[in-house]
């Protein structure tokens, strides 16, 4: 199961957790704190191709809309349908129940290029 320790992070605050060639994607605890009050998640479609670094999803909070960028490239295999009725899960459990979607990776090297938790934490403390 994914948690903050066993994920890798993009500089745009998404995390990915790899199991085989499937990466689960979410947003970091820091990102959910910044966005706060999440009220709607416009998830990608199952079967959609996403590209690392490209926006693929929108998270709406009361005050703003935030673009979410795919940390890795591939095909969306599954989306977190629990967020349809409870988008606040992303705020409460950003690294667990609040995951966004799962991608079948086409370039696993992209995953290796993401930051580990301590490197990511260093970027947000600047």
């Amino acid at each position: 199961m994914h948690n903050e320790e066993n994920c890798r992070f993009a500089k745009t605050h998404e995390w990915a957790h790899m199991e085989g060639d499937i990466a689960t994607v979410g947003i970091s605890n820091h990102a959910q704190e910044e966005i706060s009050d999440i009220v709607f998640v416009d998830l990608p479609k199952v079967g959609q191709q996403v590209t690392a670094g490209q926006n693929c999803c929108v998270i709406e909070s009361v005050k703003s809309a935030s673009e979410i960028y795919a940390p890795v490239s591939g095909e969306v295999m599954e989306v977190n349908t629990a967020l349809t009725n409870d988008p606040g899960l992303v705020n409460r459990e950003p690294h667990a129940g609040g995951w966004l979607f799962k991608v079948k990776m086409t370039a696993p090297a992209e995953y290796e290029a993401l930051m580990d938790l301590s490197a990511y934490k260093a970027t947000i403390q600047k």
């Binding site: 706060s36 009050d37 009220v39 709607f40 416009d42 929108v58 709406e60 909070s61 009361v62 005050k63 809309a65």
Partner: protein
């Protein structure tokens, strides 16, 4: 942080309470403390407070104070001592410079409370217009800090500090002394709830903030304030109205009293009233998922008819918005609002979205 941003007397208090400070028209103000949704709930169900020290206070004093305020704004100003009147100050073209509340202290003394973003321009305009009147116009904005205390339990909280204040009628003003400092309380607000706005010296306002915190009042930021005022159907000048829009276009026809002898903008408004409107500020409730935002396009019968000026997620009504659309759309009309490239169904609705005891 850039140094040219202004801070209010409550800046440190807001930071201590966990406020996320943002640039709001050149002022550093809290957009939120803990959560916009929690703050919204506090104001709708209990009591919340906002730092509104950035708002402007302008005194109009002298023999012609009443005729002057009547001349520079379009509503019929009450001249009963302590009574306040919501009004608009217009250009000669009938467009909106600012919306404001004019409080009558006596026939020769009015306090006008204006928006932060416009306060300099408002003051300059009033100064210029005052030349042929026997009045003095004074910008006292820096002498006052201001807290908006709002919610069904707001008055009880203030009653503890100012016994008897609950007797102040809605939209009225009272001179008070709090913590040994002179100030004013008005029974007004921008949330659709009962409450008061308190103007006090910069040192006094900090003491009031601390006292209200102790009394369990929730500090609230601009984020919650925007949701609350939109639910209550209040205009945000600079966003829902500006110097390209008249009060008629801004759906504030009730603020225009053409029966008044003369006021700046009157001939232009008479002409517009006779000719009819092309566009009018209209309210929408989203029927699909999503959050309408400023700038989203509005479609009616497949044609683009306008755009959203203010939109948000309301914890009570989900996606709500106001925007300029072709005049004549009536409540119930089906429209679409384009959000992130997708057209989401919405319905024209009456304002306010939220109606309470005030």
């Amino acid at each position: 942080m850039t140094t040219d941003l202004k801070t209010t007397p409550l800046y440190n208090a807001c930071c201590q309470a966990g406020g996320r400070m943002v640039d709001f028209h050149g002022w550093l103000l809290p957009v939120q403390f803990q959560s916009i949704i929690a703050e919204h709930k506090a104001v709708r169900e209990n009591a919340g407070m906002f730092d509104v020290s950035h708002m402007g206070q302008i005194w109009v004093e002298g023999k012609d104070a009443y005729p002057f305020v009547q001349y520079i704004t379009c509503n019929n100003i009450k001249q009963t001592p302590a009574a306040g009147t919501y009004t608009h100050m217009l250009t000669p073209q009938g467009t909106i410079i600012d919306d404001m509340i004019a409080f009558c202290l006596n026939a020769e003394k009015f306090l006008i409370v204006v928006n932060a973003a416009c306060r300099q321009e408002d003051f300059e305009w009033m100064k210029t217009q005052s030349a042929r009147f026997n009045v003095t116009v004074t910008d006292a904005s820096d002498q006052y800090g201001m807290i908006a205390l709002q919610g069904p339990h707001a008055l009880e909280k203030l009653e503890v500090l100012l016994p008897g204040i609950s007797a102040l009628p809605r939209f009225h003003i009272q001179a008070v002394e709090l913590f040994g400092e002179p100030g004013y309380v008005t029974r007004t607000g921008y949330t659709g709830e009962d409450g008061a706005e308190i103007m006090l010296s910069p040192t006094g306002i900090v003491k009031l903030w601390e006292a209200l915190l102790q009394a369990g009042v929730t500090p609230c930021g601009l984020g919650a304030r925007d949701v609350l005022r939109l639910e209550a159907g209040y205009l945000l000048n600079g966003q829902d109205a500006d110097q390209t829009r008249t009060p008629y276009e801004a759906a504030c026809g009730w603020v225009v009293k053409l029966s008044k002898e003369d006021f700046i903008g009157k001939p232009a408004l008479e002409k517009q009233k006779a000719q009819g409107l092309a566009q009018k500020l209209t309210a929408f409730e989203l029927k699909g998922a999503g959050v309408p935002r400023h700038g989203c396009k509005i479609f009616y019968e497949g044609k683009e008819v306008g755009f959203v000026t203010s939109g948000t997620f309301s914890p009570l009504f989900k996606g709500i918005a106001v925007g300029y659309a072709q005049a004549g759309l009536t409540p119930g009309a089906q429209v679409e609002i384009e959000i992130h490239g997708r057209r989401i169904p919405a319905v024209v609705t009456k304002t306010p979205f939220y109606k309470n005891r005030v």
